[in-house]
């Protein structure tokens, strides 16, 4: 009977859990790791990026984004949109071709893979015969031309991938007609480039690696013209009027050839950065303007000896000649053109480099950069920590934006030029801020409210200190008359002046605008938001955390030198107080209470409390174990060396990869080689027998004194009738210290001292590190943040009922009564499933059924990469989901939770994955991309391969149009099934 009743309750609870919790990985923010291919559809206004891990990502207007992942774990080497359609083709490193489409489903588009295909050569042919090196999506939208390493061109009907054998252009056919006097006629090598004649879709130019280009007529199946270039070919461009062909070559030259229909031998070659040997020009583009000279854009071609290591794109227009100098390797680039047909003047240059996407406004004087609303490199300096603040008050939001706008004056005013698709996501319910701390001492503020993680403001703390940076080492030192005329672009700058500047902890009070930032060398800055620039001196208050403990000598880095002269701080957050911990160890815990005007901090040696109004120390407590010498070593030297050697070997491999030219053939082989080497290195490391010592933790362990968490609470610490301000600190050794704080009345706050009185000390029996401390009010709800109640944004806590203390250790969750500390409830984690708490946060979960029901809960990420929700105040496990791979240690360490059940973690140095545990708070892309309105490309003459009319993109469509659209959609979907059938057939055959 009892069991039955319980069962009923359980199922009711289960239902409630379903209404409250649901796990989704919603969107990836930042820049894709290791991009390897770029594609663009002028008709859809969508950009596509393929990565080395086989992901394909599509971006349009801000908020419009799609992601797909190939089943094969192979790099995407090429991406081509089918002209005027919603399909795109990807070529992978394993020589497979994949067809993707954007299919509308319930009013939203989805990116789906609808077919795959691998060229099959004649039996017995070497694999090089079918190894695809060049792809041309023909403007008819029905044909795909595939050039191969063997020099053949295969013609395939798309999107069904049906080989049209009779239309193939074999190497023999071409070679037979090559002029006898052409030097390279014996071996034309692979097909390097395929281009369609913009004015005659029946003509394509086939560029062979050896240099020869052949204009081929697809209808008549014969060569029209031979262009006998003698240098190794890199790329080919057919000018828009169809009159000329540009070819770029491996010696840094480019040539212009007249399309005359007759063979001519005259080679008009130009080496733009000539005289000395130059590197290859890997891609060349020439675009006309309505009036005036054309734009010429090419990548590479730099003098090998002096600038061979630069990653440059040269843009030449009239008398303006600029070599855009990027900080990482160029993957690919394209231009966006004006006009409804996208055939007008070039308006923007979009460059994908290895670490960022740079868009250059070609119509504004000086060609400024357009700020990207997405794909922003989070890792322009390595991320060292992050902090999320939910529900920012409008006031603070506007001030931060204003401060940020002052920093962005060098950006172009032009709107973002890529505008495909419609963002149908509802407006975010609140303003959320994500703060990332970086290795170079900067803190970046991101608008994390919606799908686009948009940069708002950047704060640098380096100005407070003297650093090792050479002031003359200016990146932008463009001297007059320098040749080539370099111009640095992009913000990826991974080089830190001084690793001690690295930001380790951040805490922002969203109501008062006070911010505290703590760093690697024990520095803690307190900053205030100021709308005006101000010149001030920041004095350091030194805190000796060792408190005279004998026998310790700090072996780590020294503290940073503070600038003694006044420093001019621009509008925004300006430092006004600085605490310097001694020894200058990494700050491991930090919090700020804006109502009490106190900052508390901890390192591996102890913790302290600082009064930022009176600018003095209130409390210093050493937690260092007298036998713990390791805590004085600074950053773990041994761990570092392993990490370093690993990093070096990765660098070596990357270098060897980078130095390879783009031929997949060689690439693949060398990549394999490099991978094998890496594997061997890793295997070597694993040769040491993997065994684990089983030993109880003791108080003698190292780093037991490291302060892991620090917390302010107004609660009942000494007696149950009067609540007092209190400070709580938890250590790595499972110890919790509680201090009672006495604050002078507000009117005497500036004069009378704040005092801290030791009140309690709890040694957890299991000695696991304390990672979180929360006080729960009489209702079992976590205490609100400082000033939250004052701003009417939270219910005031229940101070009548008894408060509880929740101590979260790596191994268990334990609730104690207050003021007399005795254990009340607990939940064991490690003893039961062997996982340990890595990150924890308090979140509020709203029900998706009833608007007014919600619960507080603990969100926990374990070292196994699972996320759990633990109920409050009963500490019961509610749900758990696998989230991060357990091997991804840095991903787990980077995780940060929001107050509404979402979270972020780094999936690569440059990307945050956003996930949600809440049914109510889900931020995910919801967008629609419509099919261009003339899919049947029956019109014979097309001015430009991608020059589709895009009237469809008009948001206000008549109902008739919509109907037409549906029709098309249906037919398209019908067709797709037949494509799939075709696939099956071809696979069988």
């Amino acid at each position: 009977m009892k069991r039955f009743r319980r069962h009923g309750q359980e199922s009711q609870r289960d239902r409630l859990k379903q209404e409250l919790f649901q796990f989704n990985k919603t969107v990836e923010h930042g820049f894709p790791h290791q991009p390897s291919a770029l594609g663009y559809s002028p008709s859809l206004q969508l950009l596509a990026i393929g990565t080395r891990s086989g992901a394909i990502k599509l971006y349009g207007a801000p908020g419009v984004e799609f992601m797909g992942l190939h089943d094969e774990n192979a790099a995407v080497t090429q991406v081509h949109f089918l002209p005027c359609q919603v399909e795109l083709v990807t070529l992978l490193d394993d020589n497979s071709l994949h067809m993707w489409t954007l299919r509308a489903h319930k009013g939203l588009s989805e990116l789906l893979e609808i077919g795959r295909f691998t060229l099959t050569g004649p039996p017995g042919a070497p694999p090089s015969v079918t190894r695809v090196t060049a792809v041309l999506a023909h403007s008819s939208g029905e044909l795909l031309l595939l050039g191969t390493e063997g020099g053949h061109v295969f013609v395939v009907e798309v999107p069904g991938f049906r080989e049209l054998e009779e239309r193939n252009i074999s190497l023999d056919q071409v070679a037979s007609s090559v002029p006898d006097d052409y030097i390279g006629r014996r071996n034309l090598e692979h097909v390097e480039a395929l281009q369609e004649n913009p004015v005659n879709p029946n003509q394509v130019v086939i560029g062979y690696g050896r240099g020869l280009m052949v204009i081929w007529d697809l209808e008549r199946q014969c060569a029209v013209q031979h262009i006998p270039a003698t240098q190794q070919l890199e790329s080919v461009w057919w000018t828009e009027d169809g009159g000329y062909i540009l070819s770029s070559h491996s010696d840094g030259s480019y040539c212009q050839w007249m399309v005359s229909g007759e063979d001519e031998d005259e080679e008009k070659s130009d080496i733009p950065y000539g005289h000395f040997p130059c590197k290859a020009i890997s891609k060349i583009v020439q675009l006309p303007t309505e009036e005036g000279p054309p734009f010429l854009l090419f990548s590479g071609g730099m003098p090998r000896a002096s600038y061979g290591d630069r990653h440059c794109i040269t843009v030449i227009h009239s008398k303006t000649h600029v070599a855009l100098d990027f900080t990482s390797r160029i993957i690919d680039f394209f231009t966006i053109r004006d006009g409804p047909q996208h055939t007008g003047d070039p308006s923007a240059l979009v460059v994908l480099v290895e670490e960022e996407l740079v868009v250059i406004d070609l119509q504004t004087e000086g060609w400024p950069v357009i700020q990207t609303p997405y794909l922003v490199p989070l890792h322009s300096s390595a991320i060292t920590c992050s902090h999320h603040v939910s529900a920012i008050p409008l006031k603070l939001w506007e001030r931060v934006i204003a401060a940020g706008e002052l920093q962005n004056t060098h950006y172009s005013k032009k709107p973002w030029p890529i505008t495909g698709g419609q963002n149908l996501a509802p407006d975010p319910p609140q303003r959320d801020l994500l703060l990332t701390g970086h290795e170079d001492g900067t803190v970046r503020f991101w608008d994390a409210s919606g799908v686009c993680l948009y940069p708002m403001y950047k704060l640098s703390t380096a100005g407070v200190f003297h650093t090792d940076a050479d002031p003359n080492d200016n990146m932008n030192q463009g001297t007059e008359g320098e040749w080539p005329p370099f111009r640095k672009v992009g913000c990826f700058d991974p080089y830190s002046d001084d690793p001690r500047l690295g930001v380790q902890k951040i805490h922002l009070c969203k109501y008062s605008g006070y911010l505290t930032i703590a760093g690697t060398a024990g520095q803690i800055l307190v900053l205030e938001l100021n709308d005006e620039a101000a010149e001030q001196t920041v004095e350091a208050k030194v805190v000796d955390l060792l408190q005279g403990q004998e026998g310790f000598r700090w072996k780590g880095h020294t503290r940073l030198d503070v600038r003694e002269e006044p420093v001019l701080f621009p509008p925004g957050f300006q430092p006004f107080a600085l605490v310097q911990c001694q020894p200058p160890a990494v700050v491991t815990a930090l919090t700020l209470h804006s109502e009490w005007k106190l900052v508390a901090f901890g390192t591996s040696h102890g913790f302290g409390l600082y009064d930022y109004q009176q600018k003095n120390n209130v409390l210093i407590k050493c937690t260092l174990n007298p036998t713990d010498q390791l805590a004085m070593e600074g950053p773990l030297s041994r761990v570092k060396s392993i990490k370093k050697s690993l990093r070096q070997s990765f660098r070596r491999i990357r270098r060897s990869r980078v130095s390879l030219r783009k031929h997949h053939v060689h690439n693949a082989a060398k990549l394999q080689e490099a991978n094998a080497r890496l594997e061997a290195e890793l295997a070597e490391m694993e040769l040491a027998p993997v065994q684990r010592k089983i030993e109880a933790r003791s108080s003698d362990d190292s780093f037991t004194g490291l302060v892991r968490t620090i917390y302010f609470a107004d609660t009942f610490l000494s007696d149950s009738s009067h609540s007092t301000p209190s400070l709580w600190a938890g250590t790595n050794g499972g110890c919790v210290f509680a201090y009672m704080l006495r604050l002078p009345p507000v009117e005497h706050r500036a004069e009378e001292p704040v005092t801290a009185q030791p009140a309690k000390e709890i040694q957890l029996m299991h000695r696991a590190p304390v990672v979180g401390i929360v006080v729960l009010d009489g209702h079992g709800a976590p205490l609100p943040e400082p000033l939250e109640v004052a701003h009417d944004l939270a219910r005031s806590p229940d101070m009548q009922g008894s408060h509880h203390l929740l101590v979260i250790s790596e191994e268990q969750f334990k609730v104690f009564t207050l003021p007399k500390v005795s254990a009340k409830m607990k939940l064991k984690l490690t003893a039961v499933d062997g996982s340990r708490v890595r990150r924890v946060g308090v979140a509020w979960f709203g029900s998706n059924r009833s608007e007014d029901y919600g619960e507080s809960g603990l969100v926990v990420l374990t070292n196994q990469g699972d996320v759990h929700v633990v109920s409050l105040p009963t500490v019961k496990m509610q749900v758990h989901y696998p989230c991060v791979r357990r091997e991804d240690v840095s991903g787990i360490a980077s995780c940060v939770f929001t107050k509404h059940g979402q979270g972020f973690y780094l999936i690569s140095p440059s990307e945050f994955e956003r996930f949600s545990l809440s049914t109510r708070c889900v931020v995910e892309p919801r967008c629609l991309v419509e099919v261009p309105l003339h899919p049947g490309s029956s019109n014979k003459h097309r001015p430009q391969p991608d020059g589709a009319s895009s009237a469809h993109r008009n948001a206000r469509q008549g109902s008739e149009d919509a109907e037409v659209l549906q029709e098309i959609q249906k037919s398209l979907e019908g067709d797709q099934t037949s494509f799939l059938e075709n696939n099956v057939k071809s696979a069988v055959a």
Partner: protein, 406 residues
């Protein structure tokens, strides 16, 4: 096992004559055999009649064989009363003194001195080495084999008592593969194995675990599918009371069970738990956390129940400083000198420290601790918790770097 005290012997008189010796003094009084009362009352009575209210005592009695046996809980107290014929001879000694008189050789020499807390079997002719009985609390249960009746014969469930031990657990585990029988035939599956024993460690000294034993469960939870690191963390999290189920690599030494009987016949317990009258040891239902609730009650162990349950490691040490006794503003003038602050907590802790043990069972487990007798000594302490001394003791223990709580 406790039959004796429930059914008083027919021969016994209704009153038990008690002769109690403390130091050189004797006291005589009598107790009602049928209503002996509880041990703590008896203990209080002893302190009262000897007029030594604040002295912690060890109570021993001479049994029918002339052996000196301890009285420190209700069971052995009842046993002593029920077997007394007719005189119950008690020997009291100060706890702290007694602690140092336990030792094998010196004590056997003092065979006839009543203060020795040893028992020599009264058969000197057999030249048997002396059997030494210490008080139960002086034993350090090291390990035991448990659940023999419910486990397959090839498995062994070993319990290691780390509590209060300075000895390291002392073993290592590794990844490996083991062969399982599945419907599809033999299958190789990953497993966790003991890879190394530290000489002199707890694990080695028990003799119950060996290198290459496969670890199947940790505190009742299967390790299959868990990574080496997970299993390591589980073991460390349970290290104060670790129960490992292993499949010993060497099956020859494994327990061989007699066919019909089944439960509880074989005890591999390392403690010599011969029935000496102290019914401290015995069968009891398992109170452990990790073990499934369905586990039968025939678990052989040589450890008090209370101690068993104290493996619910609730005994976090809470130290309250200051409290109402001290004015909050007391040190406020000093706070401009932060260096003064640092030593204050410790000073406070030493003087006014008091422990709140959340597990009442753990107090009982100590056996000799009276509930009310010693609280008088806490006249200057703020809290009413009865174990000030223990708290201080623990504290000092902790300072020495050993485990704080028993």
């Amino acid at each position: 096992m406790n039959k004796n005290h429930r059914v008083p012997s027919n021969r016994s008189l209704s009153a038990v004559e008690v002769k109690s010796k403390f130091g050189a003094e004797f006291r005589r009084f009598s107790l009602d055999r049928s209503k002996p009362g509880r041990f703590d009352e008896f203990y209080g009575l002893l302190q009262h009649v000897h007029r030594i209210p604040n002295v912690e005592l060890l109570v021993g009695y001479a049994d029918v064989h002339g052996d000196l046996l301890p009285i420190n809980n209700d069971d052995n107290y009842h046993k002593a009363i029920s077997t007394a014929s007719p005189l119950l001879r008690l020997f009291l000694q100060r706890k702290e003194e007694a602690d140092y008189t336990f030792g094998t050789n010196s004590l056997t020499r003092k065979k006839n001195t009543v203060l020795s807390a040893v028992l020599l079997r009264p058969d000197p002719n057999r030249k048997k080495p002396p059997v030494i009985i210490s008080l139960p609390r002086d034993f350090r249960p090291v390990s035991s084999i448990i659940d023999v009746d419910i486990l397959p014969e090839t498995h062994r469930r070993v319990r290691l008592y780390k509590h209060g031990q300075e000895k390291p657990l002392g073993f290592y585990i590794r990844d490996g593969s083991s062969v399982r029988v599945t419907p599809q035939g033999l299958e190789k599956v990953p497993g966790i194995f003991i890879s190394r024993m530290v000489p002199g460690g707890l694990a080695e000294s028990t003799g119950l675990l060996a290198v290459n034993d496969e670890v199947l469960e940790v505190n009742g939870i299967e390790v299959a599918g868990k990574s080496l690191d997970q299993v390591t963390d589980m073991m460390i999290a349970n290290s104060h009371n670790l129960i490992i189920t292993v499949k010993p690599a060497n099956q020859r030494n494994n327990v061989v069970r007699s066919g019909g009987g089944g439960g509880g016949a074989a005890s591999g317990s390392s403690g010599r738990s011969s029935d000496s009258g102290a019914s401290y040891y015995g069968y009891s239902s398992h109170g452990g956390v990790g073990a499934p609730a369905s586990m039968p009650s025939h678990i052989i162990q040589n450890f008090p129940v209370g101690e068993l349950e104290s493996d619910e490691d609730d005994e976090d040490l809470v130290i309250e400083a200051g409290g109402e006794a001290e004015p909050i503003r007391r040190a406020s003038s000093n706070y401009s000198m932060p260096s003064l602050l640092r030593y204050e907590p410790h000073l406070n802790l030493r003087v006014a420290a008091t422990s709140t043990s959340t597990s009442t069972l753990s107090i009982n487990a100590n056996g000799t601790l009276p509930a009310s007798g010693s609280s008088g000594s806490l006249s200057n302490a703020i809290s009413t918790t009865p174990s000030l001394d223990r708290a201080i003791e623990r504290r000092s223990l902790e300072e020495d770097g050993t485990v704080i709580t028993l």
